[in-house]
């Protein structure tokens, strides 16, 4: 429920971009997918997810379309835009640099 901190927010953006980079997904699927892949270690609350999705959409990194799911219900599917794919690459590179750096510090310092 609490407002995500900047770090988490940035990380969540990265997770969302990664998750939909394989194909369009709706919000619930994105949350589920992150939970499954992380072995339930990362719980994405709706309070964090939807504001993040709306922000990414506003920034033009992702776009949304209403489509039918397999069960025939209308859902809002998010997918990467071309600019979003480039942004994803940048954020990924940045994340790797950051996590490497933190890893080095934790192991060596």
């Amino acid at each position: 429920m609490s407002r995500p901190s900047d770090l988490i927010q940035g990380t969540l953006d990265l997770l969302i971009l990664k998750t939909i980079s394989t194909g369009p997904k709706h919000g619930w699927a994105i949350a589920k997918r992150i939970e499954q892949v992380s072995d339930d270690a990362l719980q994405v609350t709706q309070g964090a997810l939807y504001p993040a999705l709306h922000r990414l959409e506003q920034q033009g990194w992702i776009s949304a379309k209403w489509r039918k799911t397999e069960t025939g219900r209308e859902a809002k599917f998010y997918q990467l835009t071309k600019a979003g794919a480039a942004q994803f690459e940048r954020e990924l590179a940045q994340w790797e640099r950051l996590s490497n750096a933190i890893g080095l510090v934790i192991r060596l310092a």
């Binding site: 504001p51 506003q58 033009g60 859902a75």
Partner: protein, 908 residues
Amino acid sequence: MTHFAKNRSLALREFWSRLGMKTRRWLGVLWMRARSVFRSSSVERELEKELSFHLDQEIEEGRARGLSLDEARWTALRKLGGISQIQEECRDMRRTDFLENLTRDLRYAARMLAHSPGFTLVMVLTLALSIGATSAIVSVIEGVLLRPLPYRDPARLVRVFTSSTQFPKFPMNPNDFRDFRARLHSFESFAAYTRSDLQLSGTGEAIRLSGFSVTAGFFNVLGLNPAMGREFERNDELPGRGHVAIVSDKVWRTRMGARRDVLGQRILLNAEPYTVVGVMPPGVQHPGNMYHAVMYGDTVDIWTPFTFTNPQNRGEHYLDGIARLRPGVNAAQAQNEMNAAMQQLAKEHPDGDSGWDVLVIPEHTELVGRSQRLLLVLLGAVALVLLLACVNAANLLLARATARQRELSVRAAVGASRPRLIQQLLTESVLLAAMGAVLGAALAMAGVKALVALLPADFPRASDIHVDAPVFLFTLAVAAGTGLFFGMVPALHGSRTDLREPLHEGGRSAMSSRGTLRLRSSLVISEVTLACVLLIGAALMLRSFVNLLKADPGFRPEQTVTANISLPEANYKDGKARTRFYEGLLDKLGSVPGVIAVGASSDLPWTGWDDNAGGMKIPGEEPPPHQFFHARYHAATPGYFRALGIPMLRGREFDDHDTADSQKVFIINEAMARFWQHSDALGRRLTFEDHPKEKDWMTIVGIVGDVKDAPKNAAAEPGFWWPMSQGPLSDFSIAIRSNLEPKVVADHLRAAAGELDPNLAVSDIRTMKEVAAGAYATSRFALLLVALFAALALVLAAIGTYGVIAYSVNQRIHEFGVRMALGARPSDVVRSVLINGMKLALAGTLLGTVLGLALSRLLGNLLYEVSPADPVAIGATCVITIVVAALACYVPALRATRANPMTALRAD
């Protein structure tokens, strides 16, 4: 195709594709924002649909895990958390919240304001008055002080004067001017000019034109060009060549039919033919002058060449100098160079030129310098009013914010963040300020017109004052600034909601009332302080004005009508002709029934006459060291002093026995009588000649009371009058004291003058009261405005005090109810409320007095015979402030006595 080229085309393609990607992204972003703003309801619906889809998925998942429908729904809801909070955050994320919230806040604010029309009305009116007053004063300052003068590169224009110990600022001598012009390097160009009014006849009714004779290149110095023809050249300055004229656009249109072939035409000026060589474009502004001053503005009708007729004279000073500095030279450097030249001239002409310095003053300073203090004082006063209005608005808003605490808490509880609450509260205050500004701008438009009408006639650049775009922008900025400023404190205060407190305690007395009350009390104290400062200023101005009116002017302006007459030299070639005219005129007027006294003279009191005669010799008396006897010279006919009510202290008036052939006589004023340190002036003689013959002596036959040059001057200048019969003037003033209506007197005057000379113009017909009022105008103007601002401030402070006391009474109403129920008398309750209010009022008054004492010094020469620490003014201010504050407290105090214990208890 080479490898390089191929590479380049690849790079280009990538560049284009990246550019396209970026552009598409930005177009998408714009579309999203536009959609969020303009189709907000459909966006909101989608968000709801999206969230409910998520909820359903969660429920289905729970069912799949084997939960019952209810259990699954419950788990899902718990996991989801506050839907409205998510919605609010999503809205935040859409970033367009600014615009979108603004429209929502505006709509909301408008509704809230419409709900409490009394509050809104008070807020808007007080803000409109103060913003309007500020804009009006800023318009005046912009027009007078800030707007560049309408000449080419006006910053380089300077005025040139001479200066001696006796005459600190004096016109120039023509021959000195000519030498300066030939020798100086600091000036790109240098010209001189002197008043020379002319009578235009031959085309319709004769009129007197306001004219100047100017040296060659006068307009070039100003950077102005004639619309037609040429300006004067050096040749025109030669004696005998000067019968050419340049006319103003106004004269060209009204008297010459705006004819294009006017150049080279002859016109009759002072009954002599002049050739028109130039026509100036409309809007030529006279740069102002010192000797026989004509004020700055579109005030001059005609220009003629100045001719150097007397090459030996170094003693006459009557030219105003104006020059254009070379680029990079400043006024001080030019003054140094001129003083060096002056010293050289003093060596060459020790008689006339020793003892003189030169003053070089920037044109802008010379024009508006003397009104600067008045305007800055008014700006200060109006800024205090605006500040006070802001504090007052903050105070009222704070009261409202406190009353709305519950509403704000509810909004915070359902997910409004603090910045959102602040934004909403600020929207309300800016909306108030904006409404105030719109009304204020309208008030400013009207106010500026009224201000200009009220301005003293001699106020510089009055015609340049109007509300224009920069002033309007300033008003907008002030409104936005005040809105934020007075809204900020209540917004920060009001938004600091603890979610639980007000909702829990619910009652209106709950919310941190102590802190709010302290904040509001300090606001009230500052309001009273500001009002007190303004009141002290107004009281001092009022005292000055009363002193000014009480001071004996030295003449009786009531019942006297005055006018100016100018006899053209061509028709009145000698003294006899002039004497015949004015004696005839005075006889005719004197025989009109109801006329008490009538006379003519060189000038009228308080009209700026400053002509001096110096170098007189008085047997047995010596002037102070390094000085010489000098006095204002005037001429008068019999009856003049009676017509103006100037008392004849001793001796006699002029009479019919004083003729051109009789013994030369003088009447002097008291100030001049003091020249005779060792004996009584009456009956003594003086002369202007070094080797006087018997006819060169003047005998003092009378002493009249002093009349100062202007009402605020410290003392009268020494002055003497000769009988008009012994030195008839061609320009003179008429004064007629009578029991008749001024209009009737004016008709008689015109008729009498017309009978004697149908081609003569009688100008400036005014009552002496109007002349005197003109001399008081600046003081009256300053007093009126400062008093107006002080009254406004007092009302604002009263509203503020009332607001806070009423608020605290409301807070304590239940306490009062209980006390009354327990037997407290109404007077006890009233006293307790009054004491509360009076504490604030006294603190404010004390602070205001201290601040007022510190600031009243800035009034400087706006005060007249009043110390800036005048105890009467300060005492009166304190009494007024405290009485008004007491009244403002009394109304809520009465309400406290009507507190009903039952209602009070129930209300909580």
